[in-house]
């Protein structure tokens, strides 16, 4: 089944909606039916540039999409702070704001085992990028006054799962944001309206949506999501916990699986690269099954923890080929092959698969997943 067809179409939030009341009512009925459709993918192979339109942003939730009236919504900040606070949405919008472009990616994108997907969206479509507007979390933590010994901030969502994740204080004081707008409009309900946490470069589920509570603590919460779910089982039976960062990754989106080259001659190879550890330094492309690699051109701006668009001009003479990209980030880390990852991590883990995904182009120009 085409995953991208299963996503809901993501309309603006109820309180910023265009359309009739009847239309909104219908939307709510659809939302109720969508509770068990826990994710929707971005059609990466159809998109250009680095910004994902809000209606095509990937979705993942753990207990449905709540409908929250922003006038009723409150954020409580408590725990190891001098002044526990209750903030309304109006309060939060009064703080000095920032806008920044960052990607967001689900940690299970994709899993390590077959069947592998056919298209770029099937493989890594739980990935999107937007311009986010909100207030740095540090500003709000400073307002409450952190106490000595504060090491973690436990974030809780206002969804039915009351989803809870623990964030190291270093991240909270670095580039974490409380976000209320995405690509210029208020967050859509599926993205956490009216308020979400944004932790650039950290796995998607930690960017808690419908954010209602922040508790400053000395210890993580060891919540269900961070013990039994978003942990990474290894072949020896142990599991890695608190695996926050999304490592460097890239994928060619054109030509890519499901597409067809209908003519010989000039074709531009293009795709996206990203790293949770900072900026993309370079992207290399191989046209010969990984034997040799050449530099792709990076489209400016190259931003930290954001998608970076790359391109390579190519003349296809009709010979079957396997094409693939690999990203290198500013730490010097190079995106690995699937075989290299599996050698270290085995096949029991679901998460943090940042492998290279090669595409096979046959003599007819049909493009398929070369790994499948």
């Amino acid at each position: 089944m085409d995953e991208s067809a299963r996503r809901s179409d993501g309309k603006p939030a109820l309180w910023h909606a265009i359309g009739s009341r009847e239309g909104r009512r219908q939307e709510h009925l659809e939302d109720a039916a969508a509770i068990y459709l826990a994710s929707g993918r971005t059609p990466l192979q159809e998109l250009d540039g680095i910004i994902t339109p809000n209606g095509l942003f990937y979705e993942r939730h753990h207990g449905g999409v709540p409908t929250i009236d922003p006038a009723e919504h409150r954020l409580m900040l408590h725990g190891m702070v001098d002044r526990p606070l209750v903030l309304t949405m109006e309060d939060i919008r009064r703080f000095p704001s920032q806008s920044r472009i960052h990607f967001l990616e689900c940690s299970g994108n994709p899993v390590y085992t077959k069947p592998y997907g056919k298209t770029a969206s099937d493989l890594v479509g739980l990935l999107s990028c937007a311009e986010w507007t909100g207030v740095p979390l540090k500003t709000v933590l400073d307002e409450a006054g952190l106490q000595a010994g504060a090491k973690w901030v436990v974030a809780e969502g206002g969804d039915a799962a009351a989803l809870t994740r623990s964030i190291p204080i270093e991240k909270c004081l670095d580039d974490a944001m409380l976000v209320y707008s995405q690509n210029g409009e208020r967050l859509r309900p599926q993205q956490g309206y009216p308020l979400r946490l944004l932790l650039p470069g950290f796995e998607g589920n930690m960017n808690v949506k419908w954010l209602r509570r922040l508790k400053v603590t000395a210890e993580p919460a060891y919540s269900r999501e961070e013990t039994s779910k978003y942990t990474d089982p290894m072949p020896d039976g142990t599991s890695r916990e608190f695996t926050f960062y999304m490592e460097a990754k890239s994928i060619i989106t054109r030509p890519s699986g499901g597409q067809k080259l209908t003519t010989h001659g000039f074709h531009e190879i293009t795709g996206i690269a990203w790293s949770g550890h900072g900026k993309i330094k370079s992207v290399e492309i191989s046209l010969d099954e990984g034997k040799s690699w050449q530099q792709a051109e990076l489209q400016e701006p190259v931003l930290t923890r954001a998608l970076t668009r790359f391109r390579l001009p190519w003349h296809w003479d009709g010979t079957p080929a396997v094409i693939q990209s690999r990203a290198i980030d500013e730490t010097g880390y190079t995106q690995p092959t699937l075989a290299e990852l599996v050698k270290v991590r085995g096949l029991n883990s679901f998460y943090h698969n940042n492998a290279i995904w090669p595409w096979r182009i046959d003599a007819n120009g049909e493009v398929t997943n070369a790994q499948a």
């Binding site: 207990g63 526990p84 606070l85 809780e156 269900r224 013990t227 089982p233 916990e241 991590r345």
Partner: protein
Amino acid sequence: MPRRNLKAAFLVGAIAMLAAAAQADDRYGIGRPATPAEIAGWNIDIGRDGSNLPPGSGSVERGRTVFAEQCSACHGDNGQGGVGDRLVGGQGTLASPKPIRTVGSYWPYASTLFDYIRRAMPQNAPQSLSNEDVYAVSAYILSLNGVVPANAVLDAKSLAAVKMPNRDGFVSDPRPDVHNH
């Protein structure tokens, strides 16, 4: 920020008490204080040491009834799974090619079980169970896994004392773990 600079300049050389006042003035003064009663109402997190577990208790026996009424439709009559996660069994499988991850085989802390059931279950009516019933159904799931005896009654103290089989099964993140260049 001019407002702050002005304040700071004004207070240069002032006594420590006034300096403290300046620090207070550095804030934006946005929001209102959260009251202890509000915090108590919102703060449902249970620590891994069992901290913040509420008063009350529940037996395996009572848990069997609660589970049949509230949980079995998704998790199966005996916690074997269905629409919802499998909750029982799998101990000793984690190092195999087909690991079975359940409360009994995988979850490191029993307190997390109480926390999660109370905050998020049953999925159609989260936070609808009484604390007693959350203790009871936690006890029942642990007993199905052989972690507590069939006659167990759990409360804050006894739940916190439960040692889960996979308690020591977790390691910190070693990445970058692929050294290819």
